[in-house]
Symmetry: C2
Subunit: 327 residues, 2 copies
């Protein structure tokens, strides 16, 4: 087997579409690299993988810390491979690089999938901005699709803007909840509730079953208060237990129903089109910023002006204008 | 009195620093405008107001919907004017323009302040992105400071990234909470807890008093689990009642303690410096994007490529590269 370190872009693409995981991983590493040669190569690979992409179902999974996302993904992913699907698990967690905290998608937290040759787990890329992390993840989706993965699960932390970023790159958005977590009807995560295509109350096992059923009925009622979504899909609510492997295949049934429903009414295609347009704009934004900031004169000017700003010789606003005039 | 509609930038500045509220409001309207002449004028006014700015204390106030932010700000602001302060109330709520929902800072929700000549209430600017709304609010702070407001209160919704945006433009960040809201120790809003310099449990009145005291002690304990903040300030926890006007002046005492403490250890200045550097970069980012997208050739190319992307003739990634090559 050839060595990814020495391979050409064409060799990479050939190996990736032959489902060579070692090459897939190396290509993702190139995407995540800040080295400009790596970036150039990543771009070539990505471009040539694009004709093979776009064929998977992309599912976003969110929920507050402690809701059991990893165990759920482990069991859910295992179910998917058991019915013949190849599953990639990605994560968007900008905090993991900043706080050096636990990295989502950590293989040690997904015992079953980690040992499954039809599953591929990749931790959240690091990055100093959510935008950067999200861009790398979108590009990783393309590579995973070219490598023949049928289903891409994208995990995110249940905090802040990363959920919106993930929602913007998936077909189906799943919100995991706990019974008695207290935020049921408070509207705390209202923005998230509105994004969900399904809400599943996890840990519906043992003494929690009744509470989970109650939560299910509360969420169902709460969802009726929301206006109809653009997809015209009414979000479904159910319970599950990752521990007892209950309610897991039902989640996949919901996904399939959703896909059939939205392909029929056209939303599926419109949604992907909107996401592609957004990807276009995000890629441009990223590149024009990069182009501007990578100039030596700009870097020097920024450093010089930061000092002047600190000494109150100039305001940030004026400094920005002068730096822009370097153009 | 001269008419803002016909006034020169110099006249604007003169009137603003003379505390002419009608000119202040008109200048903020220019900041919020998308008309390029207005923008040009706004920039001139802003530049000339900068030497008079930077002298207020900026306080961010957040909390989930229903926590009573408006009533709190009404009573808190009234207390501040009663001790001789001039208070401006701004808001950052990107959703208000998207959902056309209730606009924070709505004068009808702040009865006391709305009638107080030492207070100025300005609703959240509209905008299609949080970045845009935040930029306009930062510029509005400058104008309000030039107009001699001693304290700027910046309200935000308790959802999503807008809290981070507000945290990035204030000296002191106040989190309002309710007792029994269920999210006390769940870490749901952990990111927000970590930003707070004070947590105040609102609606500590009538039958809620005991629960509020309990929540206070729970939050105090919970905060001990967090690492020491960069400011070295230990966030304070207290209860208050906007209804009964209790615990309100204590909040201002916390703010003053914090300012004294962080001025002494230097954090106050470092924090403002960091914010200024961020403002510099945000202003540049905004301008380079604007410069790029406003070119006719770019607009036309984007529209043409969107169609090709939809027809799967080209990928978003390749299209972006071709548009960038127009440069």
């Amino acid at each position: 087997m050839s060595n990814p370190k020495k391979a050409s872009s064409a060799e990479f693409v050939k190996q990736i579409i032959s489902k060579n995981i070692s090459f897939l991983s190396s290509a993702i590493t190139l995407i995540e690299s800040n080295n400009s040669e790596h970036k150039q190569k990543a771009t070539e690979i990505l471009n040539d993988c694009l004709p093979y992409a776009n064929k998977s179902i992309r599912i976003g999974i969110t929920g507050v810390p402690g809701v059991g996302k990893s165990s759920f993904i482990d069991v859910f992913g295992k179910y998917l491979t058991s019915i013949g699907k190849r599953v990639a698990v990605l994560a968007v967690d900008p905090s993991s690089s900043i706080n050096k905290g636990s990295i989502l998608g950590d293989k040690t937290r997904m015992h079953l999938l980690a040992q499954d040759s039809n599953a591929y787990i990749r931790p959240s890329p690091s990055g100093d901005s959510l935008g950067g992390v999200a861009r790398k993840t979108k590009e990783t989706i393309v590579l995973c699709e070219a490598a023949g993965f049928d289903i891409i699960l994208i995990e995110t932390v249940g905090v802040g803007q990363s959920e919106i970023a993930v929602h913007n790159m998936v077909d189906f958005f799943l919100l995991l909840k706990l019974a008695n977590s207290g935020d049921e009807l408070q509207g705390i995560k209202r923005g998230i509730m509105e994004m969900a295509d399904a809400i599943v109350i996890n840990k519906a096992d043992g003494p929690n079953i009744n509470a989970a059923e109650l939560a299910k009925s509360q969420f169902s009622k709460a969802l009726h208060l929301y206006p109809l979504k653009e997809s015209k899909w009414t979000p479904v609510v159910n319970t599950c237990s990752s521990l007892e492997n209950k309610g897991i295949k039902e989640v996949y049934a919901f996904v399939n129903e959703f896909i059939t429903f939205t392909k029929k009414n056209g939303y599926f295609y419109k949604h992907r089109k909107d996401q592609n347009n957004q990807w276009l704009l995000d890629t441009i934004d990223y590149a024009i910023k990069k182009q501007f900031y990578e100039r030596d004169s700009v870097q020097e000017a920024i450093e010089a002006f930061k000092e002047k700003i600190e000494k109150e010789i100039i305001s940030p606003f004026e400094a920005a204008q002068q730096i822009l005039d370097l153009n």
